[in-house]
């Protein structure tokens, strides 16, 4: 059992190494834009240096295509982002910043 556990943890470390090396392919401007570089109404909600727009893009695009803010009403976005907060394990601050961006972009 211990051997199996060790093997699993070693595999996780290997994946971590691969993931960090993948940053070489990244477009730094798109993925590391700071709040001051981003325009828009959500700069006051920046979190970890990312605006609501960037959080929306980074978190949603990890799994699926992003849908335009106009696709749903404000109340619907409240429910959707609440649901996705639980699914994607984003924080409350991120949830609020994303919702505000979606509502202000409609």
């Amino acid at each position: 059992m211990l051997r199996m556990l060790t093997r699993g943890l070693l595999a996780a470390l290997l994946l971590l190494l691969i993931s960090t090396s993948m940053n070489l392919f990244a477009d730094p401007k798109e993925n590391r834009k700071t709040a001051s570089e981003s325009s828009g109404a959500t700069s006051s909600d920046s979190y970890m240096g990312l605006t609501g727009e960037e959080l929306w893009s980074n978190n949603c695009l990890r799994c699926h295509n992003i849908r335009p803010p106009t696709m749903y009403g404000n109340a619907q976005w409240d429910v959707i982002v609440h649901h996705m907060r639980l699914r994607a394990n984003i924080t409350g601050q991120e949830q609020r910043a994303i919702v505000e961006f979606l509502k202000s972009s409609k």
Binding site: R7, L50, V79, H83
Partner: protein, 459 residues
């Protein structure tokens, strides 16, 4: 005159909004996938912000007018009371009418939405799919399913989410409850969920399984109905928190856990994840921890430990351990002119050593074994989102390897490895047409190569 001016201003604002909306719609039509250029986006955003300011100013004026109007109505009702005393039935009727008019006066637009929808928020989401499968050695077939997702936000802290799977089968229709969970947000970094939920260690099921998200028509065998549970019934806490510029997410749960299969040589030692009721008093404990070193990249480790044997049998004290590692990378690259997704997960399961059918009464024992299984997948997809040609921008190419070594007794199904290539065409961000070819060669058996065609729509 003041009100007429307000109405004119409102009409102008609405006209401007309609113009902008049509521009956005036109931009979306041009790309057919909802993307607009950065320049167009910035222009629209600037226009929208300017209009928002004007709308806010108009709302303030409207609220002031509303207050004034309410005061006037109140004065009018009061004057009626004075003219027609309450004991007069006719006067009472008129006064009531005035009260009704006063209370039913159109509220500001901003208040109308809230009052019409109430305080709870409900959304019917989900997806539908239709598929054609032509597999070597099997009859080709069409299939279809509807998967409604019910999302109900009772308060900003309480959410219910539930999903059904509805599909034609034989001469009727199958309806399955896939999940049903009540969640409560404890704070910004933690939520509690109880009910039937997607197993956090199975990242594919939790994040990529909906067919408008899954880039290939079928699911990887290693993690879907393979080594890891898809669904768990129990309770979980989950959330995420930042550590400097990075983020960690987590989920810990207790659940009924799997059931150990013991009565058939082909399946002895396997774990049955499809039985959602418990077979003993020991609960499974599991979880997953994910680390996001940079946006768009996540590495995870998941586990579940349980006692899967039936209570009161010789298998009751056996312990099963499941482990998995996963990797998700999404990168937009100027170099590659598009977006690259890399998803991978590999899982292992082990059940303590046991002797199955020890007295031979089932006809295959005694069969001593330590049941081990493993399986997983790796998938890479590329979509040229930065090309100028709309048609090419909507294409996505996918390649997947998946594997399941699922025969602990050596008497059951052989290990299976598949290689799949696929091509998707995105009609909208959540509507896709998929075509794939799968090379599938189980050890020692004839190939099960397949042509798969599917269309899926998320809503």
């Amino acid at each position: 005159m003041k009100r007429i001016r307000h109405y004119c201003l409102a009409a102008i604002i609405q006209g401007a909004l309609l113009t902008v909306t049509s521009l956005v719609a036109h931009a979306e039509d041009a790309t057919t996938d909802g993307f607009v250029t950065r320049k167009e986006y910035e222009e629209l955003k600037a226009q929208m912000l300017a209009m928002k300011k004007e709308l806010d100013a108009l709302k303030k004026e409207g609220e002031a007018a509303q207050k004034q109007g309410s005061a006037e109505n109140q004065a009018l009702v009061q004057s009626h009371k004075e003219v027609a005393p309450p004991e007069s039935s006719q006067g009472q009727t008129v006064a009531d009418t005035h009260k009704q008019v006063a209370t039913e006066a159109p509220p500001p637009v901003v208040e109308a939405e809230g009052s019409l929808l109430g305080t709870t928020k409900f959304l019917l989401a989900g997806w539908a799919e239709a598929m054609y499968e032509q597999r070597n050695g099997q009859v080709s077939t069409f299939s279809a399913s509807l998967n409604p997702v019910f999302l109900w936000e009772l308060t900003p802290k309480i959410l219910f989410d539930g999903r059904l799977e509805i599909e034609p089968s034989g001469g009727g229709t199958n309806v399955n409850l896939v999940n049903a969970q009540i969640s409560y947000l404890l704070n910004d970094y933690m939520a509690l969920g109880v009910g039937e939920f997607f197993s956090p260690s199975n990242v594919f099921v939790e994040r990529f399984e909906p067919q408008w998200i899954n880039k290939l028509p079928d699911r990887p065998i290693g993690v879907y109905h393979g080594v890891l549970p898809n669904i768990s019934v129990g309770a979980q806490v989950r959330g995420g928190f930042p550590i400097g510029p990075t983020r960690v997410d987590y989920a810990l749960y207790v659940s009924n856990g799997p059931t150990l299969l013991t009565s058939d040589a082909r399946t002895a030692g396997r774990l049955d994840f499809g039985s959602y009721t418990d077979n003993n008093d020991d609960k499974a404990v599991g979880g997953r921890v994910g680390f996001l070193p940079i946006p768009g990249v996540e590495v995870g480790y998941g586990f579940e430990t349980s006692k899967p044997g039936f209570q009161g049998t010789t298998f009751a004290d056996l312990r099963a351990l499941l482990q998995s590692v996963d990797l998700e990378i999404t990168r937009n690259s100027d170099l590659l002119k598009g977006r690259v997704n890399l998803f991978a997960q590999y899982a292992w399961s082990k059940v303590d050593h046991a002797v199955y059918d020890p007295d031979g009464s089932l006809g295959f024992g005694p069969l001593p074994l330590t049941a081990k299984r493993d399986g997983g997948y790796a998938e890479i997809a590329y979509r040229p989102t930065k090309l100028d040609i709309d048609f090419l921008r909507n294409l996505e190419m996918i390649f997947r390897w998946d594997h399941l070594s699922g025969d602990p007794s050596g008497l059951g199904d052989p290990s299976e490895t598949r290689w799949t290539i696929g091509l998707d065409y995105w009609l909208s961000p959540s509507t896709v047409i998929k075509a794939a070819y799968e090379w599938d060669k189980p050890n020692g058996e004839r190939n099960k190569n397949a042509l798969l065609l599917q269309t899926a729509m998320g809503f």
